[in-house]
Amino acid sequence: MADGRPSSGRHPLNAFDFSTTLGNAFFNTPVFTASGCASSGKELAQFFDLKDIGAVVTKSVMNKPRYGRPTPRMAETPSGMLNSIGLQGPGIDAFLAKDVPWLIEEKSRVIVSIAGETVEEYATLARKVRSVAGISALEVNISCPNVENRGLVFACDPDASRRVIDGVRRTIGGEIPIIAKLSPDVTNLVEIARGVVDSGADALALINTVLGMVINLDSMRPHLGGKTGGLSGPAIRPVAVRAIYQVHAALPNVPILGMGGVSSGRDALELVLAGASGVSVGTASFGNPSAVIQIQRELHDLLIAKGFPSLKSAIGYAHRVEEK
């Protein structure tokens, strides 16, 4: 990687290439929101211009409107939080009719995240997304219970993961890239990653939240209404770095959208060095509404300070073989 080595000299700002690609989708910058942590973008638009970040990844939407889980839905934990929202949302039809046009009008790049309870539901969602112009990529959130298989989470079942992606691929054709979002709660992440790539995923989103639980000492029962919840925030960042590193080592040509506890530019760079082509900022936005744009600025400056001529030259740099 001759062009990938940091040089000691500084590059003029305008010469630095911050752009990235996920499959055939091009993004001016590599820092995105994370699904479920930006709703549909409107709420964050008060704090920064959505068109200035790489893309808005919208909250995973299902075919029908959904109430989600009962409260309490949240518990703060050391350097993290558990959530149990249960994919509350308006359903795909209302979402595509109202939320996507608004984002496109704001000149934001849009990655739509979908979630389903059956292989068929994912395919239906993909067909509906395909009918709307202006969407840059499709994130397929497979960390959902499969109602056709005793509620086993798709992402924890290599066969079910493949069938979901296969169904989406057949439905959506080759127009927009498919990003499969994987769970770290598996024994062999590389096997699952390889399976979904073989089934047609163009890119991978790593990682979803880590399953956890908090017991309330007053009630002496699980605190969350849904009992278990997804752990996010800085507490899980090392899990994300490990997952990205392992998958990038096994599948170096598959772009990874990295996420998990990123709350600064240095955190984002860590994920890029491990192999991420883009970085999503999730829980950090809860504590800091300007987090996405701040982290983007910090990552930009840090890459230049480290001597990289481009973002792309830093992707997976932690894997390089030392020259003797």
Binding site: L44, Q46, T71, I85, F286, N288
Partner: protein, 282 residues
């Protein structure tokens, strides 16, 4: 541009005063021109614990009142109960400390255009935003009566200067250590029956808000309540602080208490369903 929280801004605000008042802390921040956007009922989300903190989420506090003065510019006052790690940290901050705030957030109390008979009901330090509201209502020519309640006298927040803004103030404690013995909701039925109330504004624990909603059921009295539900973000992106609320279409929706609240129509909140979700699909 977005229509959500369109006056909100993130800024570093300096603590101008921090003093203990009974079991609470009265903390005053310099927030400059942001006061012009703050309305009674709005809240502020505050980063706690400093930069190396393991607490990653902001803490939400009702804005007690805002003011503008020549010497301090715009100021915002909060009444904080040092209950958890985050609020204890905030209460321990000295004058001069710079605090990262996002404000003003959420809905505000609706102010009637005509002079009406308003009853303000506060539970514990839930009374804090009611004094600022009382001033606004008084300026509109409303009759403003206030009822404050708590389990014990030490938990009543009723500053001397606040009492000037109301026509009457009655205090209720469950243990009888201050004011009348009993619950703050007890006199409301009679007041409604005697047509002494047009609008009730309430702020306090869910049980109190729910009880007031039951008392206004089937009457013409409007009940605007400021709800309190655990929030991760305070700006509408996390979906954790939802409450079941009846919409105009007759369907129950899980609304975010941060952006569809904290001030909600008490008659529409489905209090009996808090902690549950409706059956079927919406």
């Amino acid at each position: 541009m977005s229509q959500i929280n369109r006056s909100a801004a993130q800024m570093n605000a300096t603590i101008l005063a921090n003093k203990r008042v009974g079991q609470y802390h009265q903390i005053v921040f310099g927030i400059g021109d942001l006061v012009k956007s703050c309305r009674p009922g709005n809240f502020v989300a505050i980063k706690v614990g400093g930069d190396s903190s393991r607490m990653i989420l902001r803490r939400a506090f009702a804005i007690s009142r805002v003011a503008e003065s020549v010497s301090f510019g715009g100021t915002m006052e909060l009444i904080v109960a040092p209950h958890g790690t985050g609020s204890k940290w905030l209460c321990s901050q000295p004058e001069g400390a710079e605090i990262d705030i996002v404000a003003p957030l959420g809905t505000a109390f609706g102010i009637p255009t005509e002079p009406v008979k308003a009853l303000l009901v506060g539970g514990g330090y839930g009374s804090a935003p009611l004094f600022g509201l009382a001033e606004v209502l008084k300026a509109r020519g409303c009759k403003v009566d206030m009822l404050l309640g708590a389990s014990t006298g030490a938990k009543i927040y009723a500053p001397m200067e606040g009492k000037r803004a109301v026509n009457s103030l009655k205090i209720y404690t469950e243990d009888g250590t201050m004011g009348e013995t009993g619950r703050v909701t007890e006199p409301i039925k009679t007041l409604i029956g005697n047509r002494e109330v047009d609008v009730i504004y309430s702020c306090g624990p869910m049980g109190m808000l729910s009880a007031i909603s039951a008392l206004t059921l089937g009457t013409d009295v409007v009940h605007q309540c400021a709800v309190e539900e655990a929030m991760a973000c305070g700006i509408g992106i996390c979906m954790t602080c939802v409450l079941p609320v009846m919409g105009e279409d007759g369907k129950v929706a899980m609304l975010r208490s941060c952006i569809d609240g904290p001030v909600m129509d008490g008659a529409q909140v489905q209090w009996q369903m808090v902690g549950q979700v409706p059956e079927g699909t919406p």
